[in-house]
Each structure stands twice: as C-alpha cells, then as structure tokens.
C-alpha cells in the first residue's frame, strides 16, 4: 500500500539545514533499519516520500562512524547502503508508462513501516511484561529454613551470666518439705467391691460398679483394682470394641481360690439400683450395648456354657 503517485522531482529537494541528528552512536542502533528509521523519523519527512538521495548520504555518513572493531555487524549496514544507492540510481532513471506504482522505494518503505510497527509492538509487550511481573503465583515466596541454633549469633556476654549468677538464691537444705495428696479412694475397697459383685454374679459391668460414685477418682481406682485382680488371676476383663461396656468376669477355674468366700464383705458396698443404669456424667454415652460375646444364658449360673471363656485373660 505504497503511495501510488510519488513525485520524483521533489525527491531530495527538501533538505534540512542542520545535520546534528547525524551525530549518532552506531552502537545505539539495532541494525540498519533502526538507523534508517531514526534518520527518517527525526527529519519530519513523509515516510512514503523519502528523500532518498539525502537519506542515503546521511546513512553513509553515519556508518562511516562504525569502528574497525565493530565490523561484525557492519555487513548489515553496508548491505542497506548498497540497497539505498541502488534505489537512488533507479530513481534517476526515467520511468515508463504504466509503472507509476513501481516506485523503487516501495519495498524499503514496506520494510521500514513494518519494522516501526514491530517496534511499537515490542513496547507494548514490554509494558505487558512489566505488569505481569507484578503478580505472583504460588511458590514464589518459598519458606526460608530456620537457621541452625548454633549458627545464630549469641548476644549474651559473660557479664550477663555473672550478674544473674549473683542473684541466684540457693535453697536451704534443711527446709525440705514435700506435700503429698491423700489418696481418698483406696484400691483395696474397690477390689472388695468387685469381688463382692462377682460373688453374686458370674460377670458384672464396669459401669455398674461405678454407680453411686460421681468422682472420677473412683472410676480410676476401680479400673486399677480390676487390673490388679486380673493380674492375680482372680478375674478377667473383656471389652468388645473401644468405648463399649467393659465386663468383668469371674474366673472359674481357680478352684483353689473360691471367689470372695474367704473374704470379708466390702466395707463400703454401694447401693446398686438394679435396672437403672446410672452413668457418671463424664463417661461417654454408649450408643448401643453390644451383645456380650460370652453371654451365658443364665447370668446367675456359676457355670459358663463352654470353654471359650478360659484362656482369654487380659
């Protein structure tokens, strides 16, 4: 889309006075198109009617500044110079009829405009890049490991230590009193309670043993007593699932140790309201009483039904 009616006679006729813009550092330019664009754009000339003679002269003057140690990129500039000279020569030749749209500068103008547009796009990309760099995705702030304690500089001086040491009061070795809390629930009582309960029935629920005692200490001691009796092989404990009822079973085969018969009755036998199973408030409620795995048809019978009971001692 080059301007079709280029007035060739005017080419090169609009020379500007000052040539100061020519004092350019060739390093600043990223190639011949960049330099050419600079020359065109800084002289306020119509890019479609480039005064080719003048621009060519300026371009040649500028690339004379390329030092001999910068020859690596000089080829591209020289190639452009050659193109410019070629165009200049073509412009001097008379054009034939029907060739108006074949301005010799057309291709160069194409390239310049295209290059200029790429420059504009580059600037937009640069802006977009900067804007994007301000937003962070996950993982851009990795956690820093805590430095080793031995690597941390210690600010404490010996004077600090000494000062504190002077203030230390040594305890009087004569004054050594210990306070011990009284155990107000005895394990022996609980053992008797259990043995007593098992004298009546072949098995008893742990929760039934707690009826009438609100204090947690009673539950703890009852459990300890149960474990102790179990250790002495006087009974065994069974619980089917966690948090389900804990059952205490009389241990039958200890023939030489008839349960509870030789013992004194419990000193403090709680009233066990039969049928009403009161549960201490801190105990988790039981969702569903599981079927006793070793249930005997007659609870009061001394004889469990089969041998399943015997070796499963806790």
């Amino acid at each position: 889309m080059v301007h079709p009616s280029v007035d060739l006679t005017r080419a090169g006729s609009t020379l500007l006075a000052g040539d100061n813009f020519l004092v350019v550092e060739i390093d600043r330019f990223q190639g011949p198109l960049d330099l050419l664009l600079h020359l065109v754009r800084h002289q306020d000339v119509d890019i479609l009617q480039i005064p080719i003679a003048r621009i060519t002269d300026q371009f040649l003057a500028a690339i004379k500044l390329i030092r001999s140690d910068q020859l690596e990129g000089a080829g591209e500039f020289l190639e452009m110079a050659a193109t410019l000279i070629q165009i200049k020569a073509q412009m001097l030749l008379p054009r034939q009829e029907g060739e108006e749209d074949q301005d010799p500068r057309a291709e160069l103008v194409h390239r310049l405009l295209e290059y200029e547009q790429i420059r504009e796009i580059s600037n937009r990309l640069k802006t977009a890049e900067a804007e994007r760099a301000r937003r962070f995705a996950k993982g851009w702030v990795p956690s820093r490991p805590r430095p080793e304690i031995s690597d941390t500089p210690l600010e404490t001086t010996w004077e600090d230590v000494w000062e504190v040491a002077l203030q230390v009061e040594l305890p009087d070795p004569a004054d050594r009193r210990h306070t011990l809390p009284v155990r107000y629930v005895s394990m022996e009582d609980k053992e008797l309670l259990i043995v007593d309960a098992l004298a009546e029935k072949a098995r008893v629920e742990f929760s039934r043993l707690l009826c009438g005692f609100e204090d947690k200490a009673h539950a703890v001691m009852t459990l300890l007593a149960g474990l102790e009796l179990s250790r002495r092989r006087e009974l065994f404990l069974r619980q089917v699932t966690p948090f389900s009822e804990l059952w205490l079973y009389r241990r039958r085969e200890d023939d030489d140790m008839p349960l509870a018969e030789d013992r004194e009755p419990a000193l403090e036998k709680p009233e066990i309201p039969r049928g009403t199973r009161r549960r201490p408030p801190w105990m988790p409620p039981e969702e569903e009483e599981p079927e006793d795995p070793l249930a005997v048809p007659d609870v009061n019978s001394d004889v469990p039904n089969d041998g399943t009971m015997s070796p499963e001692t806790t």
């Binding site: 889309m1 990223q30 190639g31 011949p32 198109l33 960049d34 990129g73 591209e76 452009m80 194409h110 390239r111 405009l113 295209e114 290059y115 200029e116 547009q117 790429i118 420059r119 504009e120 796009i121 580059s122 937009r124 990309l125 640069k126 977009a128 890049e129 900067a130 804007e131 994007r132 760099a133 301000r134 937003r135 962070f136 995705a137 996950k138 993982g139 851009w140 702030v141 990795p142 820093r144």
Partner: protein, 193 residues
C-alpha cells in the same frame, strides 16, 4: 463441600495455569461450563471480600495470582527471583514471531534487518518460542511460534489478546504476503550464501 470449593482447591494447589477442562477432571460432576461458572463465582467472592489474590485468566487457563498492588511487599523477600526483562532485540524478535507465526529465521531477519539466530536461540532457551513446523522451501527451514509460557510471561489469555494490528498507530502492510515471500526469500538464500 460444593463445586466451587472443589475448583478452588484445585486452583489453589496448582502453581501453573490450568485449563477449565483440566480442572474438570478433578470430579465426575464437573464439566468445562460448570468449572467456568465456579471460577466466575470465585472471582466475585474474592472481589467482594477484597482478597489479595484473584483468579486470573492466563495462558489459555486459570491461575490464582496475587493482585499487582501487593508486588512491593512480595518483592521484599530476597528469595523471590528478580524477574528478568527481555532485551530490546529479544522483544523485537519475539514480536515478529508472535504476529507472523509460524515464521522462519530468515523472515525474522528480513523484518529486523539484522541477524537473529542468537536471539532466537535465547528465546527458545527461555521457552518463549519453539519450533512448531518446518517450511516448504529449500532445506525445509525451521518455523518458530510462541509457547504457553510466552502467554504466561506477558499475562495474555490467548494469542488474540496481543494488541491488534488495527489498534497500532503505525500502518503496516497486510500479513498475507508472508507465505509467498517466505518462499522467495528462502529460495533466494543459497544464492547469497
């Protein structure tokens, strides 16, 4: 647990943009439309509650990114890699490839007027461009195009997000001669060499 939360969890756990169809794989009840709807809900939620991050449409997918105004605070951490900016020549080369892809090195060099082999290699190393095809000309030259990472790096959703040629202040010839010209240049090249 609702669908929006599932989408949020997936986005939160990801350190790269995810396509809607990828997010939809998280659960059988999801499809692309549902995911996009959920993302819109999240965007509204985050906006209302003034979160420091947003769900951003990026590189053909979605990602949770902090809002730009928090950059000064995040940049204070010395563990945050200082984002490296592309040089002028790299940007120019990238711009040409972005608008004219797939494009060979010779054509890029023609537009810029200088050799671009090294710059293209750098861009390739940074995974901003890649070889996407081979040309038809002599020697079947490599043709380059931009990558997902290019979109992410510049914060574009899709390639069409690039500023449109009509919006640019500079007039440019149409991009159509690309194919023909490519051939011509590519064919002509061995003569020069």
């Amino acid at each position: 647990m609702n669908i929006t939360q599932i989408v949020e969890a997936v986005l939160f756990a990801s350190d790269a943009p995810l396509k809607a169809e990828e997010i939809a794989r998280a659960d059988g009840s999801l499809d692309e439309d549902i995911v996009e709807e959920a993302i819109r809900a999240l965007q509204a939620q985050y906006g209302e509650s003034e979160r420091s991050f947003q769900v951003v449409e990026l590189a053909e997918g979605f990602q949770i990114l902090t809002r730009a105004e928090f950059a000064p605070y995040l940049e204070r951490f010395d563990t945050v890699p200082r984002p490296s900016r592309l040089s002028g020549p790299a940007l120019e080369t990238l711009a040409i490839i972005a608008y004219r892809q797939p494009i060979g090195r010779i054509e890029v060099e023609y537009v810029r007027g200088v050799a671009c082999g090294g710059v293209i290699r750098t861009l390739q190393d940074r995974a901003l461009v890649d070889v996407v095809a081979r040309g038809e000309g002599i020697g079947r030259p490599l043709l380059y195009g931009t990558t997902q990472r290019f979109l992410n790096h510049f914060g574009f959703r899709v390639i069409n997000d690039l500023p449109r040629v009509e919006e640019l202040p500079v007039v440019l010839r149409e991009g159509t001669p690309l194919g023909a010209e490519e051939e011509a240049v590519a064919t002509a090249e061995p003569d020069h060499g």
